[in-house]
């Protein structure tokens, strides 16, 4: 890539900081240049976030339908999967799978509920009443 071809498509990161790129000058010698971002990358991020948004909405619908506990909603919202949630909460994966069932969730001990609320960085009330949390 030549130095004057370094893309300058302002993206999310570009608003905060420029990226260093290695590019060649007129003599073909490598030097560094700053980039504001590249549309191709921004689009890849956008597509990924749209997909996350879909998953969050699908999770919300499931919770409202009483097919899943609010943990599913917050898990998707925090871009976690059961593996990641398991390591943050310290619960086993099979426990989390149980907690995703509304009936089990409703009977969870305050200690366990607190753990989830802490990991998702919300209050216990917000955790239970997903609606109050917006989105």
């Amino acid at each position: 890539m030549k130095k004057d071809e370094v893309p300058q498509d302002l993206g999310a990161l570009g608003k905060l900081t420029k990226e260093v790129c290695y590019a060649t000058d007129e003599q073909g010698k490598y030097t560094t240049a700053l980039s504001n971002g590249w549309e191709v990358k921004t689009n890849a991020l956008d597509v990924t976030w749209e997909n996350i948004q879909h998953k969050v909405e699908a999770a919300k619908a499931k919770v409202l339908n009483n097919e899943a506990s609010p943990i599913l909603f917050f898990m998707e919202k925090n871009i976690m999967d059961i593996n990641i949630l398991s390591s943050y909460t310290g619960f086993f994966k099979w426990q989390i799978k149980r907690h995703l069932k509304p009936a089990v969730f409703n009977k969870l001990s305050p200690k366990k509920i607190n753990k989830y609320a802490e990991v998702f960085n919300v209050t216990v009330d917000e955790l239970k009443s997903m609606e109050a949390y917006g989105q």
């Binding site: 890539m1 999310a12 990161l13 608003k15 905060l16 900081t17 420029k18 990226e19 260093v20 790129c21 290695y22 590019a23 060649t24 073909g28 010698k29 490598y30 560094t32 590249w38 549309e39 191709v40 990358k41 689009n43 890849a44 991020l45 597509v47 990924t48 976030w49 997909n51 871009i79 976690m80 999967d81 593996n83 990641i84 390591s87 943050y88």
Partner: protein, 339 residues
């Protein structure tokens, strides 16, 4: 506080952190491309059965920490690296080293990095920063992705040092011990060693998944994605490939350019003309990675979508594989002549 610590921005976090830590102990002649080359930073692996966040599992880099380790080792610089099971002990040790005026490398997760834009926050745990002091109760942070140093509170730093999930940093810190001046001879040997190892990574790892063979293999698989996954999921997969490839200075094009820069700097040490020519071949490979990314984006943005478009994408990777195989084969021969 390590008052003489100089923050410099870099294209890739680990090579940047390594360079900045080396500068801090007085090894001034080592640039980011030299670190990247000595540390054999170019890598590729695609594991077809494994999924990362529901998409294809591929990596353009080796395990975190290895570039730092290799570079320092080759230069004869002693390093210390520690992981912690206790958050308190992790903080204690860091504070102690900072109070001695040292600058300390930390592996962190990016999901909770307070100064990162929301769009970039994924559960990615192999990011590297330097902590170089504490002022007014806040840690002074040099993140090589950022133009300027920043700060984090105790809580913020603890959260990113103890991020969970794949490649969890477990509070890992690493730093260099003071060293004798690094001689030109030592640098030359480190360059030769780095090239040799990178040739091995890209050409010699057995199996079809790693190195230049892995790139061609991914290309072949991509041609099947449209039929196998449907257009929506195939688009998401391609977006993931591009994110892994071009995200904040890691991966495809960016890494090839950095390797090209490394070969030019290697030329300054050896005056072997072939190094300059090979640098151009890596530039060519980098350009083609970017062309492939543009093609992929056409697909995930919905501008392209026929089987022919997927075939073109796959063929780009096949072509890259051929170019890089040739470049590394030539480089291996040149490396044997370097003295």
């Amino acid at each position: 506080m390590a008052s003489n610590f100089h923050h410099a921005q870099s294209a890739h976090c680990e090579s940047g952190v390594t360079r900045n830590l080396l500068q801090n102990i007085g090894v001034k002649q080592i640039t980011e491309p030299l670190v990247f080359g000595m540390g054999a930073g170019l890598f590729f692996i695609y594991i077809p059965l494994l999924k990362i966040s529901g998409g294809p599992a591929l990596a353009f880099r080796s395990v975190p920490g290895i570039i730092f380790k290799r570079t320092c080792h080759s230069l004869g610089i002693k390093i210390i690296r520690k992981k912690f099971s206790s958050k308190e002990k992790a903080k204690e040790e860091l504070d102690k080293k900072l109070s001695e005026g040292m600058a300390i490398g930390c592996q962190v997760g990016v999901y909770y990095l307070p100064y990162f834009p929301k769009e970039y926050r994924f559960h990615f745990n192999a990011h590297n920063i330097v902590v170089f002091g504490k002022e007014d109760g806040k840690y002074l942070i040099s993140d090589p992705i950022m133009e300027y140093p920043t700060t984090m509170t105790d809580y913020e730093l603890e959260r990113v040092r103890f991020a969970k999930g794949a490649l969890a940093p477990r509070g890992q810190i690493y730093y260099t011990l003071a060293t004798e001046p690094v001689t030109e001879e030592r640098i030359k040997r480190a360059i030769i060693k780095g090239i040799k190892l990178n040739v091995f990574h890209m050409l010699k790892i057995p199996g079809a998944f790693a190195g230049v063979k892995g790139i061609a293999f991914l290309g072949k698989r991509i041609k099947n994605w449209r039929d196998k996954l449907g257009t929506e999921k195939a688009g998401l997969y391609l977006a993931q490939v591009v994110r892994m490839q071009e995200e904040i200075g890691t991966g495809g094009g960016g890494f090839r350019y950095m390797y090209g820069a490394f070969l030019q700097e290697a030329y300054n040490y050896f005056q072997h003309d072939e190094l300059m020519k090979l640098s151009e071949e890596f530039t060519k490979a980098g350009d083609l990675w970017r062309t492939a990314a543009v093609q992929a984006s056409g697909i995930y943005k919905g501008r392209l979508g026929s089987q022919q478009d997927y075939n073109i994408m796959g063929d780009y990777l096949a072509e890259i594989s051929v170019i890089e195989k040739l470049a590394f084969t030539k480089l291996a021969a040149v490396n044997k002549q370097l003295k």
